[in-house]
Symmetry: none
Subunit: 412 residues, 2 copies
């Protein structure tokens, strides 16, 4: 029903990563409105015109961003006039709004800016709450083309202030839409699919989306309908099935990051944490400290790359390292217990492994990682075998460490 068209050479040369399409699409999606295609074309008038001519049959709204600036290579208004066979005229309302905005900013308006008020005949103005140039709507053959400037900040503001409500109202949507995102870690996408094959209730009004963001996967349930109680019931039914089959891997149903969940779990117990990292090199601590307020539970961390530092700060016996190697079960155990003891925290978390690409051996290949968690009463160490680049092994190890801690704390 809705399409998005982005105009700009910079998108096609890869010099700018577009954020507008995702933002507009996301805002519409949350309001229950579906975008069916996103197209990016260059600044040539011919390209823009052609793109304006080929909406899908079902499209009723086309949101166009970019090419409305003051410079010569901004040709969207021209292309629109030509595509819809309209005259280009100074739009008095647009001009008045621009002049007022320039006065407000105490900036002089130059002739190049005046061009931004020259629009296809019969355009309807879309006010711009944050920039100097207006957007505008041209209606042609039952379709509305909504033209916006390309500046991301302005696109965001206009989407919020105008686009979503306007389309919702025009589309006469009475649908109730509920979204819920379950976050999953520790299982491959293909294994999730296998586990869910044949068990999900066949409902056309409920959709399940997979959104992998390595190494996490988000499962988004979207339920829609006209009767709230029914939509809620559908949502609950889907969620129950997912918990039944994937419960062990679900760590959040509020779209939180793993480190936020860990933070909540520690805060609830008024617990504190100290971390000893080898192969993750600070990444576990970086994740933990991305959460505002993490200083309440994270007491300190050590990146103990050298064997000497493992002994000096974490009291890992040097002969244990010599006997078993720095990447081993006993060393991970000593690190977790040592970091907890030295830091006098409730929990100690330790990671030691081989991130690669060098440093592996037949017995301990690249990706061998030991993760240890210790409390006053018990210590748990697990061996993992990860794969991929150095960066991936670090990411996977850091996530697994956070998840191991979460489970350890929950198991009490």
């Amino acid at each position: 029903m809705i399409e998005i068209l982005l105009v700009g050479d910079e998108l096609l040369s890869g010099s700018t990563l577009d954020k507008n399409a995702g933002h507009v699409a996301g805002a519409l999606y949350e309001a229950g409105l579906t975008v069916s295609r996103i197209t990016m074309v260059g600044d040539e008038q011919e390209d823009i015109e052609r793109a304006l001519h080929v909406p899908l049959d079902t499209t009723r709204f086309v949101i166009v961003t970019g090419g409305l600036g003051p410079t010569e290579d901004d040709r969207t208004a021209c292309a629109a006039a030509s595509a819809f066979d309209r005259k280009l005229l100074v739009h008095p309302e647009a001009l008045a709004l621009m002049e007022a905005r320039f006065r407000e900013l105490q900036r002089a308006m130059n002739p190049a800016n005046r061009k931004q008020a020259v629009l296809p005949e019969d355009s309807i103005i879309i006010p711009n709450p944050v920039g100097t140039a207006c957007g505008f709507i041209v209606t042609s053959r039952q379709r509305e083309f909504l033209f916006l400037p390309g500046v991301p900040e302005e696109v965001r503001a206009i989407t919020k202030s105008f686009i979503v409500e306007h389309i919702k109202e025009k589309a006469g949507s009475k649908q109730i839409i509920l979204n819920k995102t379950l976050k999953v870690f520790g299982i491959f996408e293909s294994m999730i699919q296998e586990k869910l094959t044949g068990v999900l209730p066949p409902k056309r009004t409920v959709a399940l989306g997979f959104y992998p963001q390595y190494p996490e996967i988000s499962l988004k349930i979207t339920a829609r309908g006209t009767e709230r109680s029914r939509v809620e019931q559908d949502m609950q039914q889907f969620q129950d099935v997912l918990y039944e089959h994937l419960g062990d891997y679900i760590y959040s149903e509020n779209n939180e990051r793993l480190e936020e969940v860990v933070g909540d779990v520690l805060t609830t117990r008024q617990a504190t944490l100290a971390v000893a990292e080898s192969c993750t090199g600070g990444l576990v601590s970086h994740h933990l400290t991305n959460v505002s307020g993490s200083s309440r539970y994270l007491e300190r961390s050590f990146v103990v790359y050298s064997n000497e530092s493992k002994a000096q700060h974490l009291e890992v016996p040097p002969d244990c390292i010599e006997q078993h190697g720095a990447v081993s079960e006993p060393v991970a155990r000593h690190m977790a217990e040592g970091v907890r003891r030295v830091s006098r925290t409730t929990f100690g978390l330790a990671v030691t492994g081989i991130a690669g690409p060098t440093g592996g051996s037949p017995n301990k290949p690249v990706g061998t990682v030991y993760i240890g968690v210790a409390s006053k009463d018990r210590t748990e160490v697990k061996k993992h075998q990860f794969h991929g680049t150095r960066e991936r092994i670090k990411m996977m190890s850091a996530h697994m460490a956070l998840n191991s801690l979460r489970r350890f704390v929950l198991e009490g």
Copy 2:
């Protein structure tokens, strides 16, 4: 001549920000190849089919990413078979490659994975250097459709290993294209623009691209022509002008990451490093340890969130913290000197600051960060004021710390 088609509901619902299109387009652009349209459609087979049917008249290559996964909602191969009227068959070469890859990873291949080897008849395989599933080419009416998996890491790898060279060769391009990327840190994009206005030689055969990747900016020079000596001369001329006006901010001309440059600088001097982080929470160490071989110079790091840990491990005098506050010039100095002394390294690097969003005060607002670097003979501490979210302040602080270290070491 080239189009890109992206498949995935997650793009249309705004839940994933696409990076593939920009990456592929950028790589092609650098090779002198032009992308004329980028289209994104959903996972429905019908949508994909329709998109495969409507390339522009001039299009000779369509690069399609996404929808090749093992799950049921991956329907690109099916759509391709239907759009081009081909049978879907198990492709023996694709299957053999997948089986070999799974053996290599010591993972079991399940039936869902087998589906990834079922391709339109007469497809030509595109090897995937980093993932389990192959890409493939279908030729129809003089046009090549090149299908790739949607995982960004895999798209990058295949673009580099196959796509660019393949299209360049098929398109019979005789142009000589040279690229050079200067990496810049510590200056805003708008300031770069200002410094360069009117100073660059007006050459149509040389293009300068800005690629901001917060907090770094890449300046990419692309020079093209048919005569190598002329192209090299143009490149050199541009580079000289950039060094003249931005030399202080350029830290690499080999497209290295800042932490790689730091690693080189330390390795050359056979120097070692210890790090003490407060507000960056492990991010400096994470960056440093992303470089393979960093264990040669990074001895250890501390994330000293608590005042007690600053005193206990870095020998920061408690009364210094009490008198000046943990975020202060004297504490940064003590941290840098202390971490170096305790770890017996050539250099000590320390960061202490307020990452926010809470913890600021009128005297020390959020974003106040002190960075200290110490050697045996001297210590340098600088105060910085950064802005933005917690994450941005952490990123900016970590980069500034690495850059301060780099300059300190180079100054000798």
